[in-house]
Symmetry: C2
Subunit: 150 residues, 2 copies
DNA sequence: TCTAATTCTTGACTCAGTCCACAATCGGGC
DNA sequence: GCCCGATTGTGGACTGAGTCAAGAATTAGA
C-alpha cells in the first residue's frame, strides 16, 4: 500500500546489493539465509538451516549461524528470543514492531508498535543507561489454545 | 512507601507459610531457593544453585531447576530471559516492573512500570489472543560500558 | 507412628550454540 | 580474464543450559 510518504530505499531492493551496501561480501549462503528468514518469519536457526539446505543444496551449521549473526549485527535481520524458546529471526526490521507469543503453543505473531519510533517507550528511570530499544513481548493464549486449555 | 491502598498479604510473610498457602510441600531446598532468589535478584540457575549449596550444604541441580520451575508456575518468583542470556530469576513479583539490560556487560536492573497494572500495555491488535502480560526489556548501554565503548 | 504421595538425588542425555584449523570463495588490481 | 590476499565456509569436536528417568529420601495427613 504505497502512501504519500515513500520509503527511503527503492521499492524492490536487490538482496545482493543490500549486502554490498552494508560492506558485506556477497555469498550464496548469505543470500539463501536472507531468503529463508524472509520466507519464514520467526524461524529458528534450525529451520533456517533446513530452508537454506533445501534452497542451495548444502550449508554448514556454522555458516548459518555466522550469517544470522552478521546480518543481525548489520541490522538486516532481527533476532528475538522469547523465554524457553531458542532464538528466532525475522527480516522485518526498522519499524520497531513487537511480538505476541502464545504461552501454550509458542506461536509468534507480529504486532505493530502503536508509537512507531524507537525506542517507542520511555523508562520511568533510565539509571544512567543510554537506551536504544524497547523490546515488548505480549504473553497470552492464542485463539486455538484458548479453546483447548481450561 | 506505604500508600492508601495496602497490599493484600501481611507485611512479612513466612516463606514456609507462603509455600503451604500455594499448595506446595515445604522442603529445605525450596526454602533455600526462595532465599537465594531474593538475596540475589536476576541470578542465573547456576548462581542460585551455588547460593543454595552455600546455604544448606548440598543440592542437586535438578532440585534447583524443579524448585525454580514450580515457584515460577505458582507466581512466587519470576523468570526472565533476555536474548543471549540464560534464564534469570527474581522474587519481586506482582508489581509488573520491567528490565533494563546493558548490551555490553549484560547487567540487568529493575525499572518501575509507569502504568502499574498488568498487562500495562495494550497491543494495537491482539489477533484474538488473550493477553495477560506485557514484558518489556529496555536495551542500551550502562554508565560504565558507555565510557569504555566508543 | 505409619503410609502414600511428593520431592530429591544421581547420572545419562539432548539441544542450541561455539571454537578451531583448514579449504573454498570473493573481488579488487593487473 | 586471471591472480592473490582477505574474507567466508566446512567439518568435527566441544561447551553449557536444561531435561529425562529410576530409585531413594522426605513430607504431611490418617
Amino acid at each position: 500500500m504505497p502512501g504519500p510518504s515513500a520509503q527511503s530505499h527503492p521499492v524492490v531492493v536487490d538482496p545482493a546489493q543490500l549486502l554490498r551496501d552494508t560492506g558485506l561480501q556477497v555469498t550464496a549462503q548469505r543470500l539463501a539465509v536472507l531468503r529463508a528468514v524472509t520466507a519464514s518469519p520467526h524461524g529458528t536457526a534450525d529451520e533456517v538451516e533446513a530452508l537454506v539446505r533445501a534452497d542451495i543444496g548444502a550449508v554448514s551449521r556454522q555458516a548459518v549461524y555466522d550469517a544470522l549473526a552478521i546480518l543481525g549485527d548489520k541490522g538486516l535481520i532481527r533476532r528475538i528470543q522469547p523465554s524457553r524458546s531458542s532464538a528466532r529471526f525475522e527480516s522485518r526490521v526498522g519499524d520497531n514492531h513487537h511480538h505476541l507469543v502464545c504461552r501454550a503453543c509458542g506461536i509468534t505473531v507480529d504486532v505493530d508498535c502503536a508509537v512507531g519510533e524507537r525506542p517507542c517507550l520511555h523508562a520511568s528511570d533510565d539509571h544512567g543507561f543510554v537506551i536504544d530499544e524497547a523490546e515488548v513481548i505480549y504473553w497470552g493464549l492464542c485463539p486455538a489454545c484458548r479453546t483447548i486449555e481450561p
